[in-house]
């Protein structure tokens, strides 16, 4: 039988998977001391943030933003935060655009060898 922390890890891995596959869209919420990310999952709100030099916190919040429950610190929260940052910063699109940008194409071999 799965322990409580194993169940939490199962849930966090599902959130990571859902985030990476775009099934759980996260939005940025700027506050005074930290960048927070919010997502709706089946009618409930999740908030993820990390204060400087601190472990990430994942919370269940109500509609007014009040914390209802904070997930205990378990393995995987850092990975969830990095996946959420990757999604909200739209890194994938930026990388594709940079790769496909003809103006950033390096000069051809022929040109670089010409004197």
């Amino acid at each position: 039988m799965a322990t409580e922390s194993e169940k939490l890890i199962d849930a966090i891995v599902r959130l990571i998977k859902g985030t990476q596959e775009g099934k759980i869209p996260w939005t940025l919420e700027k506050s005074s001391n930290a960048v927070r990310y919010i997502a709706e999952y089946k009618g409930r709100w999740l908030r993820l943030y990390a204060l400087e030099y601190d472990y990430p916190n994942l919370e269940i919040i109500d509609n007014s933003g009040t914390t209802l429950w904070t997930f205990p610190q378990v393995s995987g929260l850092n990975d969830l935060l990095s996946s959420v940052r990757y999604q909200t910063a739209d890194v994938k699109t930026l990388l594709d655009e940079i790769i496909e940008d003809d103006e950033l194409e390096p000069e051809s071999q022929e040109m670089s060898h010409s004197v």
């Binding site: 922390s5 194993e6 890890i9 199962d10 966090i12 891995v13 990571i16 998977k17 990476q20 378990v74 393995s75 995987g76 850092n78 990975d79 990095s82 996946s83 990757y86 994938k92």
Partner: protein
């Protein structure tokens, strides 16, 4: 009763007790050695495991084009797990063996192996959590 209490019998009993005590001491020395090794090596091994599992998670974003890299990353996990296995107790050894077995069963990946890699990643996280807890427990044993 006292007839039995001869020097020879006392010697025999003492020998048997001595053997028992020696086995107990050997077992304890082995456990202390393992505990010492775990305390010394666990931080680096866990850090390495953390890096590999995080890399696997990142590669899962582009699974189809990262199959070879994921196979390599999984292969890198195995020696770390083997090293951890020799430094932990029986229960943790069993958990590590299960993850090693899962990795071995998925040495060669295909386009349909994405869910299997997610499962390995999940088991690596669970193992990491168990090792972190063990590390915390060991601090109280000193």
């Amino acid at each position: 009763m006292f007839e039995w209490l001869t020097l020879s019998n006392i010697g025999s009993v003492a020998s048997i007790l001595g053997i028992g005590l020696s086995i107990y001491l050997i077992y304890n020395v082995r456990e202390i050695r393992k505990s010492y090794l775990f305390t010394a090596r666990a931080p680096a091994l866990l850090k390495s495991l953390r890096t590999h599992s995080s890399n696997i998670k990142d590669m899962l974003k582009e699974f189809e084009t990262s199959i070879a890299e994921i196979e390599a990353e999984l292969a890198r996990c195995s020696p770390v797990l083997e090293s951890l296995r020799t430094k932990v107790g029986r229960q943790e050894r069993k958990s590590i063996a299960e993850v090693v077995q899962l990795i071995s069963a998925n040495k060669t990946l295909s386009a349909g192996s994405k869910d299997a890699v997610w499962d390995i990643y999940k088991e690596l996280l669970k193992l990491e959590e168990a090792m972190i807890n063990l590390q915390k427990d060991k601090q109280w044993e000193r």
